[in-house]
Amino acid sequence: MPAITVDELTKRFGQTVALEALSFQVEDGEVFGFLGPNGAGKSTTINVLLDFVRPTSGSASVLGMDAQRQSREIRQRTGVLPEGVELYDRLTARQHLEFVIDSKDATDDPEALLERVGLTDAIDRKAGGYSKGMAQRLMLAMALVGEPDLLILDEPSTGLDPNGAREMREIVREENERGATVFFSSHIMEQVETVCDRVGILRDGQMVAVDSVEGLRDSVDGGTTLRVTVDRIDDDALQAVRSLPDVTDATVESHAPPTVVVTVDGSKTAVLSALEDRGIEIQDFETTEASLDDVFQSYTTDTETEVHAQ
């Protein structure tokens, strides 16, 4: 049973179309990265899942339950880190957590939760004085209450420094190992690539790609870039490399020292062998994978790159 099923979901706000016939599934037990530029409709999707807004048409189900009719049951088993939310200024971290624990009828210890997110020092301080990062840590702790089956994290890295973002990803991993499904939205690719099993890319209210991180890399032109420094280079050798089946392009980048840049989709050793077969001595080589940022860019901006939605 999928943890989240969104089926032909459309949401209009007056004249504005926020979501247009959006369909996707999040499998039970996976970490799903929900990626898209600001304004793509990520928050609207999450708002529908939590019944904050009602669909214009289409439907959504969470943990096998209808997102509208059984919202209370869904939210009992879901931990949420909402985006763009202010805490209660006059309440301490402890009081925030006690409220969540009370609301979910859970038995968690506020101190243990704050220790996980690294906010133990501020336990009895009022949230009004928190920095953005501290507020985000507290909200993550609130999402963890009651060992939820599903975690919905809307832009969880907001306000966190790189270290904080890494810790947050670590918690996502731990929660996933415990058995929780994690639905994780972000507008930054690198936030999701290290933790997510699959990534869905949303653009203008539509899913333009859903795939594993590897699959997304492969789906975009580029593949791996191989940079080989050699003792000499000739046209014959270059032609031999270009004729290899996995190679899409090969150019001479510089002549001192001679460097060949090869774009390859498959075996890199085949390239190196082809050069060596021509008696060329390889002095050094490095590979650069197409960055996922490039992948994200290609899906979410208007370039000529052809996109194969799946």
Binding site: V85, L87, V100
Partner: protein
């Protein structure tokens, strides 16, 4: 008074408007949190101090002005006049941001991410805020009681407590109006405007209605009821009063209803506070809807009806 519900964002277009359920545990959890939050505000402490000072000052004034005839009843009569005017202001002030403020700050998403229905949130907010208002009333009234006990010639504890209880019910009525309107608006600006509308409606418009109706009667637009009464010198005087329905309009005002209900629970006669009708004007007896017990229903109406509308609407909007 106008309310904004965000045109075009009604969820009803999906033909699917689920009504949420009410869970008492959720209501309690929300109320407790809201109370914890609001009780730490300067507004609460300011209010408590204000009530205490007010009560003590009024008690002091009465005992100074009328030392021989200062009773619990005369104290209640005076204080209820003041409460009638300031409780609405305080309730509107405490309640106007209850929902609209959380929507503006986004923290409503914290509440609604938890297993609380929208109805739970609305009811919890109303109870939490009313508890804050009640606590400040309680503190003010109880501390002032000490002063009153020493000042009055004869202290009536039941009358005093009944007065406090009715004042809390009156506060609940205005809190229901405030929180309900707050839930129907999307921004605190709109909520503030709605509160101002309520203020104008009951402080200015309603108070003018009776005068206006009297004028209309004099000009013959409304047919009055003629009756005879005995004048000061013993002669029979024929006068005209407003018809029953026009008098009823005046009774609807929550403030009037509040004062009329106090007479129900204390030994206070309606000669002192609330609406008074000369017996001679109603030879067949006062119609039931002008009697004091009916004012209690009116007060309950002001608690239930705004809340019912808000419970219905709040379930159906996009947050």
């Amino acid at each position: 008074m106008s309310t904004e519900t965000g045109a075009g964002t009604d969820a009803t277009d999906a033909g699917n408007s689920p009504a949420s359920s009410i869970d008492t545990e959720s209501v309690r959890a929300v109320a407790k949190k809201d109370f914890q939050d609001a009780v730490r505000s300067w507004l609460f402490w300011g209010l408590s101090a204000f009530f205490f000072t007010l009560m003590a000052a009024l008690a002091g004034f009465l005992s100074w002005a009328n030392p021989d005839n200062f009773t619990t009843i005369s104290f209640i009569a005076l204080v209820s006049q003041v409460c009638k005017l300031i409780i609405p202001l305080i309730a509107l002030l405490l309640g106007w941001k209850a929902i609209a403020g959380e929507r503006e700050a986004g923290s409503i998403k914290i509440l609604l991410s938890l297993p609380h229905s929208r109805k739970d949130v609305l009811l919890g907010k109303l109870l939490g805020r009313t508890a804050v208002l009640s606590l400040s009333l309680l503190i003010g009234f109880l501390i002032a009681m000490v002063a009153v006990v020493f000042a009055v010639s004869e202290f009536s504890f039941p009358a005093y407590i009944a007065f406090l209880a009715m004042t809390i019910v009156y506060g609940l009525a205005y809190m229901s109006i405030a929180v309900s309107l707050s839930s129907l608006t999307r921004s605190t600006t709109m909520a503030g405007a709605a509160m101002f509308g309520i203020f104008v409606l009951f402080y200015i418009v309603w108070n003018s209605i009776r005068t206006a109706l009297g004028l209309l009667m004099q000009r013959g637009y409304i047919e009055g009821v003629t009756y005879t009464t005995t004048g000061l010198t013993g002669q029979q005087i024929e006068t005209t009063r407003l018809p029953d329905w026009a008098l009823f309009i005046d009774m609807i005002d929550p403030g009037n209803a509040y004062q009329n209900t106090i007479t129900l629970f204390s030994a206070l006669s309606s000669d002192r506070i609330g609406t008074r009708f000369p017996t001679a004007a109603f030879p067949d007896g006062l119609p039931f809807f002008l009697q004091d017990w009916f004012s209690l229903l009116i007060l309950l109406f002001w608690i239930a009806v705004p809340l019912a509308v808000a419970l219905y609407r709040f379930d159906r909007v996009d947050i």
